[in-house]
Symmetry: D3
Subunit: 330 residues, 6 copies
C-alpha cells in the first residue's frame, strides 16, 4: 500500500496534479490483504469492447482519478466521507484488450475480492457491460440486489446487433439470471428513441420501474428519487441495493464525453444530489459509474470530473447513513 500523501505529510494534502495517481489521493494497493478493515474500495474496469457506437471508455478510470480533488467536508451535507469511512484505491481489474469475456471475469474476480473483505466496491467503467460482472459479484454475496439505474437507455436489450454480451444488454441478463430482483429495479432518466415495445413489454412483465426524463422534468428529482428508494429498498427498506450510473443520463452539456449522448438530460446538480440521497437512504452494496470517454487532462475533462463527483457524492451518502445509524439514540 502506498499513501500518496506521505511525501506531503507536512502539508496535509498534495496537489491534485502531482504524486501517485489514485482516486482522490487515497492510499493505493493491489494487494487483497490491504482490504482488511476497509469500508469501500475503488476498482477500475477499463474496458470498452462491447459498445455499439463510440468507444473510448477504457480511458475512463484513469481520467476519473486524474480529475480528483482533495478530500474535504461536503459543504451541503457537512460530512467528510474520507474521515468517516476507510476507503482505498484498489487499482484496476486486469482486463485484456479485445477479450471481453476474460475482462468480465477479471472484473468479477476483482470486485469479488473487495466484497470478500466486507467493503463496498465502487467500480469506475468502462462501458456499461461491466454492470454484469459488478452486480453478479454483489449478488453472489448479498443475494439478488435491488438496482437503481441512472441512464438514458434501459440497457435491457436481449441482443444488440445480434450480440448478447453488450453494453446495451447487461440489465436484461442480470434480471434473467436472477442477480437483480426486477421488482426492486428502478430506471431513472430514460429518454430518446431506444428501446422499443419489445423491451418495455418485457420490463412490465418483470415488474421493473421506469422513471423517464419527463418524470424528472414534471415531478422533480426529489419525488423521483423518493419513488426509486422506496421501490429498490424493498418493503422493509433494508434490502441490498446496487447503484449504476451511466453518465449519459446527464445532458451532453454536462457530460459531453460519452459514447451515446442524448440531449435533453439531467443536470449535474440533480444527479449529484440524487446519488448522495440514494446512498444515504438505502443499504448500498456496490456502485459503478460508466461510459466516461475522456479526452483531456485532469479536471479539464468535464465528463471525468462529474463522474468523480458522482462517486464522492455517493461516498458522502454512505458516510451520512453510517453516521445516522451509529448515532446514539435518546
Amino acid at each position: 500500500m502506498i499513501d500518496p500523501l506521505s511525501r506531503w505529510a507536512a502539508h496535509g494534502e498534495k496537489p491534485d496534479y502531482a504524486g501517485l495517481l489514485s482516486f482522490s489521493g487515497l492510499p493505493y494497493s493491489e494487494d487483497p490483504a490491504d482490504l482488511h478493515g476497509v469500508d469501500a474500495a475503488i476498482v477500475g474496469a477499463p474496458m470498452d469492447d462491447l459498445v455499439s457506437d463510440r468507444p473510448g471508455a477504457r480511458f475512463g478510470p484513469r481520467a476519473i482519478r486524474a480529475a480528483s480533488c482533495p478530500p474535504g467536508p461536503h459543504l451541503e451535507a457537512g460530512v467528510d466521507a474520507f474521515e468517516i469511512l476507510e476507503v482505498i484505491d484498489f487499482g484496476d481489474a486486469p482486463v485484456l484488450p479485445a477479450d471481453p469475456e476474460r475482462s468480465h471475469a477479471a472484473i468479477e474476480a476483482t470486485v469479488g475480492q473487495v466484497l470478500a473483505a466486507g467493503a463496498i466496491p465502487i467500480v469506475l467503467g468502462g462501458d456499461h457491460s461491466i454492470a454484469e460482472p459488478d452486480v453478479r459479484a454483489c449478488a453472489a454475496k448479498h443475494g439478488p440486489v435491488g438496482l437503481i439505474h441512472f441512464d438514458t437507455h434501459t440497457d435491457t436489450g436481449r441482443t444488440v446487433f445480434g450480440v448478447e454480451r453488450s453494453h446495451g444488454t447487461p440489465m436484461y441478463r442480470l434480471v434473467e439470471s436472477g442477480h437483480v430482483d426486477p421488482t426492486r429495479y428502478v430506471q431513472i432518466g430514460l429518454r430518446g428513441y431506444w428501446p422499443g415495445e419489445q423491451e418495455f413489454g418485457w420490463q412490465r412483465e418483470r415488474g421493473i420501474t421506469s422513471l423517464f426524463m419527463h418524470d424528472v422534468r414534471d415531478r422533480g428529482i426529489k419525488a423521483v428519487v423518493a419513488d426509486a428508494v422506496a421501490a429498490a429498498a424493498g418493503p422493509d427498506g433494508s434490502r441490498p441495493v446496487f447503484l449504476s450510473v451511466d453518465v449519459d443520463v446527464l445532458d451532453p452539456a454536462f457530460a459531453p464525453g460519452t459514447g451515446t449522448p442524448e440531449p435533453g438530460g439531467m443536470t449535474s446538480a440533480d444527479l449529484l444530489w440524487a446519488c448522495r440521497t440514494v446512498a444515504a437512504e438505502v443499504e448500498l452494496v456496490g456502485m459503478d459509474v460508466v461510459e466516461v470517454l475522456p479526452e483531456r487532462i485532469g479536471s479539464r475533462d468535464v465528463t471525468a470530473l462529474v463522474a468523480e463527483r458522482i462517486v464522492r457524492e455517493t461516498l458522502t451518502g454512505v458516510a451520512m447513513r453510517r453516521l445516522a445509524t451509529s448515532a446514539p439514540t435518546g
Copy 2:
C-alpha cells in the same frame, strides 16, 4: 435511391458510424422522382457566406447527419416518426462556394422540388440566410406563412454592415416581400444586445410577436409555446406555419458550436419539447435548423447532435399530429 439499411437487412439497423451517410440512416436519393409519396424530405443547405462573425455552418448538414441515431419510438411521445411518416434524405442543394446568390437559388429550387412532391422540406443549414429561400419556396406553394422562429436574434436587420442579403436580415426581407405574414410571426428566445429600437419599432408596426428569453424564464416554456402556436396558426388554427430554429437560441453550454453564441439561453430539454409541440399543434409546411458550426466527428459534436434531435422531435410532432388527425372519432 439507396437504402443504407439494406446491407444490414438481417439486423434491422446499421451502426451509426458505418454505411452511407444519410440523415438517421434514411433512404437517400437526389432524384425528384423518388420524392413521390414522401411525407418529409431532408435537404442540406451547406452555405455560410453571409455571416457577420464566425463562419463554418457549411459543414453543418454533413455533421448533423453524422450525429444521427437509429430510428425508434420517442420515449415520451410513444411515436416512431419513421414508422408513421415516409421520410427520405434528398441530399444537399447544389450550393456554390463564394456565391451566395446562386446558392440561395439552388436552395430554393431544391426545396421547391420537395414541396412540389407534396412533402415537407426539412432544411439543414447553413447560416440563417437560408431561411429566405426556404420560406420563399414554401410561401410560393402555400401562400404567406406563419413563422415560429427560435433564436437569440430577431434577424430582422435591414442590412448588416451595409449588406442586404445577410444571416441577420432574412426575416425582415421575408416579411417585406410578403412571404411571411407578420401577424403570424413569433420570435422566441430573444436576448443579448441586438437589435435596437429601429428594428423593434418596425416589428411592432408589422405586428410581429417577440417572446424573450426572460419570458421563457419567467413564464415557462409551456406558456410561451402556447402563445406562439396560437399566434402562428391563425384564428382558425389551421394556417400554414414554418418553423425556423437557430441553435444559438440554446445556451452555449448546450450548443457551443455556433457563430454568434449568447450565454443565458434555453436548455435542450425545453427546446426539444417546444419543437415537438409546435409541430404537433400547427400545420407545419417546412422547417430549417441553422447555424450549426461543427468541429468533431459524430455524436461527439454536441451542437450537431442537438440539431439532429431538433429535427427528430419536429418529425415526431408531425407524426403525432398525423396520428391525431387520422384517428377515428368517437
Copy 3:
C-alpha cells in the same frame, strides 16, 4: 487613445474579429489622462502565478476581449450601457511573469489610476489572487468595502500549501487587513469540498454571510441576491460594494475553462441576471471577473464569452442605476 470604430465609421460598428482588440470595441488607451470623464474602465490583470491547480488565467484578459460582441441595448433591461456610461479599455496592468508580488503591485497601481480619475475599475483576471490588489485599491479610496463574491470556494484560506499569497486566500487577507468589512461580505454559490471548519469558523466569527449553491437551488436566485444586496449595501443601502466573480461559480457546462471547476453549479442565466441586479441595486465601486482559462479563439471559447457577458451585465446594471438616480422626481 485609439477608437477602433473610427475605421468603420461609415458603418457604426466593426466586425468583432477585426480591428484593434479592445473590450467590446471600446476606445483603448494606456494613458491615465484619457481616464478623465470616464465612468468605468476595463483593466486586464493577466497573471496566474498563485494557483493551486491548473494555470492559464494569464490568457484570460485577451480572450475575454476577443469574445466581445458589439455594443447595443440590453434586450431585457432596455438599456445600452455604452450610451449611458463613458467606458474605455485601459489595457493591462504591467504584470511580470513569475513575480506575483510585483504583479500585484502593478495591478494595484493601475486600478488606482482608474479610481483616481473617478471611474469604476472593471478588472479582467487572472487568478483570484488579484482580488487582493483590486479591493485594496478600492478600499484605499472608498474605505472598507462590502463584497459580493460569486464563487464555488470561499477563498478564505489562511494559507494554501503553506503559501499565504494565493488564489485561495485573498478574502481572508482582505478581511484581516480591514479592506473588506466582513459584516458586509456575502459569498454566493459555495459548494463542493472546501474549505473546512477552521475557515467557516473564522467566517462566522467575523460575521461573513455564506450563501451556498443549495440555497440558490432551494430558494431561487432572486431571494439569494436580495439577501446579498441587503447585507452588502449596509443599513442605509448606500455603502460601497465590490463585486468579485469567479467563473467557477458556474457549472462546468457553462464555464469549462477554469482552474478548479466544480459540477453542480449555477447557470449562466442566473449569474448574468444576478450581476446586473447587484450592480443596479448597490453602489458599485469596482468589480473583477477571474479564473477564465481560455483555449479557443473568439466566441468559440464559451468561458471567455460568458465572462465578457458578466462584465456587460454589470455595466448594464450600473447604467440602470445611473438612469434611476438621475431621473427627475415628481
Copy 4:
C-alpha cells in the same frame, strides 16, 4: 448508383463539404451490379474491435471520405487517375459492433464482390486486423500474394494479450494460412520496441524481408522501395501484390490520429511517393489503409487527410502503370 456530381453538372465539380459523402465525390453504389466495368472500388471497413490500445478507427472510413479533394491530375505524375480508371465508392462492408468475427466475414464478402467483378479493392480501415479478410479475399482470387506493408509494427504476433485475432497478428496468420507468400512479403518503416526476438526469428525462418525506419533514414526511401518492389513482385516482376499501409508508419507529426503512434517515423512526402511508386511498379491486386482515428471534420483532420492522399497516390500509380502497359510499342 448515385453520381454526386450530377447536381453540380454545370460546374464540373462539387464543393468537398457538400453533396453525398463519397470518396473524392465518386459515384456511390452498394449494388454489386454497378461494379461491372470498374477498375477499382473503395470499400470501407469501419471496425476497431481488435485493438490493443486506443480504439476509434471505426470512424476512419467516413473521415477519410470527408477529407477528400476533387479529382484532378497529379502534379508530379501528370496523370489523373480518375480519368484513366473507372473507380466507384462501393460503400462500407456491413460490419457489426462488438462482433469482430462477423465483421471480418462481412469485410471478406464485400471485398470479394469487388474482386469478383475484376476490380481492385481499396479498403479504408478500420484497425489493422482487417488486413486478414482483405488479403484472404485477394488470395482466394489470385493465389498467394506478395505483400508490401508500411507500418511501425510487424503485426506478426502469434497472439496479443492471448488473443489470436488481433490488430497485432494479421500478418502472422496470413503467412501461416498461406495467403501471403512470405518470400514476397516486405515490411517497411519498422521502429520502436515491438516485437521481440520470437517474432523476428519466425520472420527470418519464413524469409520475410524487414526494412526498418533506420534503413529509410540511412539509405533513402528510393532504395528501400526499390528493394521492396523487387522482392514483392517476384523473380519475373509480375506476381500479384497487396499493399497494406498502417498510417502509424508516419511520424506522429504527420499522422497524430492513430492508435499506437511511434515518434521517429516517415514523412508524408516519402510515404506518398512510395505508395505511388509501388503501385506503378507492381501488379497491385488490392490495398488497405488502416488505423486512422479521426477527431475533426473534413480536411481539418490531418490523419484522415493523409490517408485519403495515400489512396489517391496509389490509384495514380495504378493509372501510370495502366498507361505504360497500354502504350503502343515502337
Copy 5:
C-alpha cells in the same frame, strides 16, 4: 500611436500574453500620419469570404499577432530586424463581412496608405484573394511587380465554381490586369491535384515559372530559391518583387490550420530560410501571408505561430539587405 512596451519600460520587454495586442509588441496606430519614417507596416486583412473549402482565415490576423514573441536578434542571421528597421502595426483594413468587394477596396486603400508613406506593407490574411488588392496597390506605386509565390496551388484559375473573384484566381487576374509581370512570376511548392492543363497551358504562354514540391525535394530549397530570385528580380536583379506566402505550402504537420491543406509539403525550416533569403536578395515592395485558420490561443496555435515567424524572417531579410546596402564600400 500606442507603444505597448511603455508600461513595461523598466523591463525592456513585455510578456507576450499581456498588454496591447500588436504584432510582436510593436507600436500600434491606425493614423496614417504615424507611418511617416516607417520602413515596414503590418496590416491585417481579416476576410475569408472567397474560399472554396473551409473558411476561418478572418481570424488569422488576430491570431498571428497573438503568437508573437518579443523582438531580438535572429540567431542565424545575427540581425535584429526591429533595431534596423522602423516597423509599426498599422492595424486591420476595415473589411466588411459578407462583402468581398468592399473588403478588397478597403484592403487596397489601407495598403496604399502604407505605400504612400514609403513603407513596405506586410499583410496578414485572410484568404488568398487578398493578394489581388495587396499587389494592385504595390503595382500602382512601383509598376508591374515580380512575384515569388509559395503555395500548394497556383491560384491562377479563371474562375472557381464559376466565381471570378476567388481565393483560387488572384494570380490569374493580377497577370491579366498587368499588375504582375508573368516573366518575373515564380511559384514554389506546387503539388497535389490542381490545377489542370488549361491553367498550366496559360501559365506557359505567359512565361510563368513553376517550381514544384518535387523540385524542392529533388534539388533542394537553396537551388530552388536561387532560381526564383534570379527570375523575379529581373535581368539586373533590382526589379520590385512581391512575396506572397500561402501557409498551405507547408506540410499539414507544420501548418494544420489552413483551408485546403495538402500532405507532402515543405518543412518550416525550409520555408523560413527561403523567406529570409528572398527578402535579403530582392527588392521587396510588399508581402502577404495568407490562409491561416487559427483555433487556439497564442503560440499554442502552431499555424499562426509559423505565420508570425514567416513575417519575422522576411523582415530579417529586409534588414540584412538594408545593412548590406548601407555598408560602406572598400
Copy 6:
C-alpha cells in the same frame, strides 16, 4: 513497491491504459529503501511556476507516464533497456504550488535520494527551472558536470523580467555556481530570437559551446552530436555528463505542447537518435526532459509521447554502454 505487472502476470504485460500509472509500467515506489540496487529511477517534477509565457508543464510528468508503451527491445539498437537495467518509478518530488523555492528544494532532495542509492535520476519536468535542482544534486555527488543541453533557447539569462530564478536562467546559475563546467557545456538546437549579445558574450567568456539549429541543418545531426560528446565528456572521455532536453528543441510539428515553441526545429528522428547516442557514449549521471505541456489523454498527446521516447532512447543508450563496458575483452 508495487509492480503493476503482477495483476497481469499471466500475460507478461499489461495494457498501457490500465493498471497503476507508472513510467512504462515499471515498479513504483516512494520509499528510498526500494532504490537499493536500482540503476535508474524516474522522478517527476511537476512544477511550472517559473515560466515566462505559457504554463502547464506541471501536468507533464503524469502525461509522460500516460503515454508509455510497454518495454521491449529497441528495434534499431537491439537492446531492451529494461532487461539490462534495473529501473523503477520513484514518483514525484513533493512540490508545492505557487512556491518555487520549496519546490526546487523538494526536487533536489528527491533527486538526491536517487543519487545516494547509486542510481541515475531521470527527471520528468516541469519547466526548465528544474534543471537547477536536478544538476545541483548531481554535481553534489559527482563534482562539476558536463552538460549536453538540447533546446531552442540557451536558458542562460541572468534574469527574465527581472526574476533570477526562472525557466530562462538555470544554466547561467549552474555555471556561475560551479555545478556545471562551462568548458564541457554544449547547447544544441539554438534558433529563433533569444538571447542576445550579452548572454552570448558571457557564454563565450565561459567557454560554452553553442551548436545552432543551422549547424544541425548544414552539418547533420551525427557530426553535431559527435562534437557535443567530445566536448562534454572531457579530454579522457570519461567525465560525468548531465543530459537536459527541452522538448521545444523539436519543431512544433513534433512537439506542439510546449510553452515557448519555435518553428524550424529538429525532427523527432534526429533527437531520438541523438539522445540514445549521447547516453551510449558519455558517462551519464542524470537527465531531465522538460517543458511538456500536455492536453490530451495517453499517446494521443504527441508531445508527451515523444518525451516518453526521449527517456526510453536515453535508457537504451545507457544500456548499450553498460553492455559494451561489461563485454569481455579479447
